[in-house]
């Protein structure tokens, strides 16, 4: 059963892995992706990032896709933790964790989920520049292309 959490609390990787390992099943490999706030350089150097989301929609949307991944890759477990609110440079934003019998299922499903989160889950990032200005991050067309690798449909234009 996919576990989803969206909220301001920091991500504790060790705890999440322990929870995943307590799932019944023959786990052979656990893959993960942890996204962190990049500081940027020069004019685009930032001190922190604020993540906004659409609460009524976020968890349900992530759960739907996480369950799709569980079925597609026959996962033993899957955890997606996405933070919202203000996160300083170097801070954790998102953790995707999947467990499977075999490594390829775990690695591919992790890749799939993070590619989807970039374009399919209603989050928006605002960067707080060192200059004091705030700046909403623009969506990247590269992210749409990455999601399309998995035949995931990005939200319609």
């Amino acid at each position: 059963m996919a576990f989803i959490r969206v909220g301001p609390d920091d991500i504790d990787m060790a705890t999440e892995i322990a929870c995943l390992q307590s799932e019944p099943g023959e786990i052979g490999g656990i893959a993960s992706f942890l996204g962190v706030v990049r500081g940027g350089e020069g004019h685009s150097a930032i001190t922190a990032m604020t993540l906004e989301h659409y609460p009524a929609m976020t968890e349900a949307a992530i759960r739907r896709v996480a369950e799709e991944a569980e079925a597609r890759w026959n996962l033993i477990g899957c955890r997606v933790i996405h933070r919202v609110g203000r996160i300083p440079v170097g801070g954790r934003i998102v953790l995707v964790l999947t467990a499977a019998r075999h490594r390829q299922a775990a690695l591919e499903s992790t890749s799939f989920l993070i590619d989807w989160l970039k374009v399919g889950a209603p989050f928006w990032k605002q960067e707080h520049l060192i200059s004091g200005k705030d700046h909403w991050v623009e969506a990247k067309s590269a992210d749409d292309l990455a999601a399309q690798r998995w035949l995931v449909v990005a939200p319609p234009d």
Binding site: A56, I93, K118, G120, P122, F123, W124, P156
Partner: protein
Amino acid sequence: MKLLYFAWLRERIGLGEEEVTPPSSVVTVADLIAWLRLRGPGYVEALAETARVRCAVNQDFAKLDTIVRPGDEIAFFPPITGG
């Protein structure tokens, strides 16, 4: 119907949420956007470029021709930047 605005749309419109009762001529998301633009400069600024605006109707991603009905929850926001 209940309208929600996120990210820079929220900032430009100046509020995150409101109840509206558009006229019966508002049938689609596109109609709703056109009607909202009449409500003031913040709305015009937020909704000027529909190419940069995304919409969800009752928590499902919607298109410009998606039908909107009284009682719906309709959210407007920029392209997603999650993960």
